[in-house]
């Protein structure tokens, strides 16, 4: 097991990509913290992780709130005494054209998608620095590269995550902490279904060069690799996992 005994915190861990990442980490022997705004769903994923034999803790968190992220860190350290892996997956995906987008929506997208990365880094990096090791993996998006009509705030927030990851990688490299991003293409989760019909979602998911529907487990595979010892020399990168839809 590649992550035996490591402590992994996954924000947005209660569903979709975050759930697959959490369960993948649990399967590889990590102790997992399922951090999500939806406490019931987080507890249910923690139960699934325990059924795989992992130690798991569910914590309700709003990643855009500094006190809430601080509580997440305190509960993590209280239960497990350390943090080795931080996966920033919590995010929102709000649809509206730029001209009618409200300032509240814009702020919400940035505070959660990008601000969550910042607040979680600030809460967990000091412990990683002390132990001279750590892995931070942020979930960006193919849309960071391509843009997407009516999702300008989402696209900008995900592109900003890539910039943040590259800067943080340079800042934390001397402490043996790697920082990378994964840019998934559209995956078979609830997220795209919030704005499109089932038929439209499936047609879009199948329209890839590989003709393979991108599943949350495909993303989890790359996150597990970046969290493992095998990726100890990789930092500051944004790896695309998208069935060949975007090559950049």
């Amino acid at each position: 097991m590649r992550l035996q005994g490591r402590v992994a915190v996954v924000t947005g861990g209660a569903q979709g990509l975050g759930r697959a990442i959490t369960l993948g980490m649990a399967h590889e022997g990590a102790k997992v913290v399922v951090a999500d705004l939806q406490a019931d769903k987080a507890e249910s994923v923690a139960k699934e992780a325990r059924s795989l034999g992992a130690e798991a803790l569910a914590v309700e968190v709003n990643v855009a709130s500094e006190p809430s992220v601080q509580r997440l860190a305190e509960e993590t350290f209280k239960r497990f005494g350390a943090v080795d892996i931080l996966v920033n997956d919590a995010g929102v995906y709000l649809r509206s054209p730029v001209v009618s987008k409200t300032e509240e929506d814009w702020d919400r997208t940035f505070n959660i998608n990008l601000g969550g990365n910042f607040l979680c880094a600030r809460a967990f990096v000091p412990a990683m620095r002390k132990q001279k090791s750590g892995r931070i993996i942020s979930i960006a998006s193919s849309i960071a590269h391509t843009g997407a009509k009516e999702f300008a705030d989402y696209a900008a927030s995900k592109a900003a995550i890539i910039g943040f990851v590259k800067a943080l990688a340079r800042e934390l490299g001397p402490d043996g902490i790697t920082v990378n991003a994964i840019c998934p293409g559209s995956a078979n989760t609830d997220m795209p279904r919030r704005h499109r019909s089932e038929e439209e979602v499936m047609a879009r998911l199948r329209a890839t060069p590989l003709g393979h529907v991108l599943e949350p487990e495909d993303i989890a595979g790359s996150v597990l690799f970046l969290a493992s010892d095998a990726a100890s020399y990789i930092t500051g990168q944004a790896y695309n996992v998208n069935c060949g839809t975007v090559m950049i």
Partner: protein
């Protein structure tokens, strides 16, 4: 049935590490290299460690030799599941006006044409089986450019675009094609030309992780891109450089 990986440049630093990593995962490796002695040395290490490997000689710039190599491998082992194109090199560091046409052609041919010739021969075999992984080797210089390495930088940039094109071409057949772009890596060939101290001075402060790469760092990435975990990844460039770029 054991998987078979054909590795060009398998006798070199990165190629040898990739061959050893694949063999550790019970893959039968064909270590192909211009330098047959180097290929045999790598094979010997693998076999002594309990793995399966065969050494073969090839000049990847020669279409006839590449065809003969691939025919030989398929006759002996039946199939090729992974093709890792690692043969290459920059060979020269000099100003553009000092490059002869022959030198330019040599660098472009070994790096880029060799990758094309190997893919041209192996892709049809993979298409028959409707699966396969092709891994091409670029460099950070293929993205940033490098003063005094114009043909090498051009060839490596060409490999990135070639990979994307081939990925689109072979996707309907379930074949994944990706590029690995190493940063400064401590291979024996590089270390012959530069003392560890000079290397440290040149690179370490520029690399956030504070060291140059080891062939084994790259080998892990090559291996990951042959596993089921990377089944949704094609046409991509994977930098592995300690954060240099």
């Amino acid at each position: 049935m054991s998987q078979v990986a054909l590795i060009s440049g398998g006798g070199g630093g990165i190629g040898g590490a990739v061959a050893r990593r694949m063999a550790r995962a019970a893959v039968t490796v064909v270590v192909a290299d211009y330098d047959l002695d180097a290929a045999e040395k790598v094979c010997g290490e693998i076999v002594r460690a309990g793995g399966k490997a065969e050494a073969m000689s090839v000049d990847v710039t020669q279409a006839r030799e590449v065809k003969a190599l691939v025919t030989d491998v398929t006759q002996r082992l039946g199939h090729i599941d992974v093709l890792a194109n690692i043969a290459g090199g920059s060979f020269y560091t000099k100003r553009i006006e000092e490059f002869s046409w022959a030198e330019w052609r040599q660098v472009i041919d070994v790096n880029l044409k060799g990758t094309f010739l190997m893919c041209r021969e192996v892709a049809p075999l993979m298409q028959k089986h409707k699966c396969g992984r092709i891994l091409n080797t670029a460099s950070n210089y293929g993205v940033t450019g490098s003063a005094l390495r114009a043909p090498y930088s051009a060839a490596k940039a060409g490999i990135i675009a070639f990979t994307r094109s081939l990925a689109l071409e072979l996707a309907p057949d379930g074949i994944l094609v990706n590029t690995i772009a190493p940063g400064p890596t401590d291979t024996p060939r590089v270390m012959e030309k530069e003392t560890p101290e000079a290397r440290k001075q040149r690179w370490w402060s520029a690399i956030p992780l504070g060291r140059t790469g080891k062939p084994e760092d790259l080998a892990e990435l090559f291996y990951f891109l042959t596993t089921p975990e990377s089944a949704a990844i094609t046409g991509q460039t994977f930098h592995c450089n300690g954060g240099l770029i």
